[in-house]
Symmetry: C2
DNA sequence: GCAATTCCTGGACGACTGTCAAGCTTTCGT
DNA sequence: ACGAAAGCTTGACAGTCGTCCAGGAATTGC
């Protein structure tokens, strides 16, 4: 019996622990993948460590060998998944040459995500709700949310640039709006509404265009406090590293 | 020992069961209030029936006397709470006389809700996430969502009417947008961001104005498929009855 | 090929869960 | 006031949970 490997390896930076770290991280990723599968199927409240282990090729005891407790496992899982998500739309941003094309491909990509990854995204929303209660989740969830916000901002600011216009909303608002749209569509989609993805695509296009600042915006709701948000260039998708 | 009261009373419409029904429903509401308190504090995943009972003046056994199981209790709770929510903004709609005032009071009311009822609303988002997994929650959650959508639509359609303009989005999109805004602000607020409520108020005002159809909307994103949504009168807040 | 280390299994633990039923107390109709 | 019904408490039940641990299996360094 030795000290907890989790501690042991993180502690010593021995010259020959390099390979061990690799193997260790590899198996962690493997177990996290199994956990993601289970979590996306059952949700946070109904997922047990034994269930996760049964969806892997290991026994339940091993989970405490690679993760200190259940929370660490789950946080690692969501982080692992969202690390892919935040770059999903960057290819579109890079390759589009006019605003209309960008809006259309953006909408199409969100609709495709809704169709293909509904289960994973419901897990994300589940985790974010948990963060509203569980203090220990908040920091990570907010960090991931911020990554998604930046992703959305790369899209809409590029859109404004291509349209030769200025955005009327902040990055936070832009993200909140598309997130709300997606979430509603997700619930409808999982309820069996097959037209949900199509509607999402159309709505994303419409709303994207609506984010641009209009010169003659209805005088009714205008105040001088309204800001214009320049389409400042934003760093590429690197900013989701472990803190 | 008799048959389950739940069944017995619902079944027979006896002439002298009237008072009993009243008392029965009254205690159900009382227990549901205790349950709401606990749920909003701990969240769905961590709330047990014993914990709920401890937050009431009864013992845990009584819960199965008034509710057939845990799910029925929880659904009853959320329904009871949201029944109040869907009328929260109607006074504003009724009393405002110009668009700018309506937008401002709408934003202020949402900010007040964020400050005063953050815990209850995080429960609502928790339940909605559960509905993404638990089939038995979906029907009720979608019904409540629909009630909220109508509430939002009453506001924005009245806003458009007062502004003498036409709305550019469907009821579903309008709701999704404000819901997304609120949810982001809620997470920030619970993290300790004290400026969150103020920002929400400002953002709600801005976005509300942005929902109106602009005549010169940027040509880039426009397709002939875009619709105009008339500010049709909508029924007052009665439509949340038990199905 | 041996010993040491790492990896993994499977069982055991105490705590907690939803559910239920036996029986006590209170309320109510007559 | 008395008996029946309703309302409520208490304890028990069969599971499940996260966690931990003793020890077998596999791998590694030499």
């Amino acid at each position: 019996m030795t000290a907890q490997p989790t501690e042991a390896i993180h502690a010593g930076a021995d010259r020959f622990s390099r390979r061990q770290v690799d193997k260790f991280a590899e198996r962690r990723a493997q177990l996290a993948a199994s956990a993601l599968q289970t979590l996306s199927e059952l949700g946070y409240a109904r997922t047990s460590l034994r269930e996760i282990a049964q969806n892997s090729e290991f026994s339940h005891g091993v989970l405490h060998y690679y993760f200190s407790d259940k929370n660490e496992l789950i946080i690692h899982c969501v982080r692992q998944y969202k690390a892919e998500c935040v770059t999903r739309y960057d290819e579109i941003v890079a390759s589009c040459t006019n605003a209309a094309e960008l809006a259309e491909r953006f909408g199409a990509a969100m609709a495709a995500t809704l169709r293909d990854e509904a289960h994973m995204h419901r897990l994300w929303y589940d985790m974010r709700s948990q963060a509203l209660f569980e203090e220990s989740f908040r920091a990570d969830v907010r960090e991931l949310d911020h990554g998604l916000e930046q992703m959305i901002w790369r899209i809409v600011s590029r859109y404004a640039e291509l349209a030769g216009a200025v955005l009327a909303v902040s990055p936070a608002v832009a993200y909140a709006v598309f997130d709300g749209l997606f979430q509603q569509s997700l619930l409808a989609h999982l309820t069996g509404d097959t037209s949900s993805a199509g509607e999402l695509q159309r709505n994303v296009q419409t709303v994207t265009a609506g984010l641009l600042l209009q010169h003659d915006r209805a005088a009714a709701g205008r105040t001088e406090a309204d800001l214009e948000y320049s389409a400042r260039p934003m760093a590429p998708p690197d900013s989701l590293e472990r803190t």
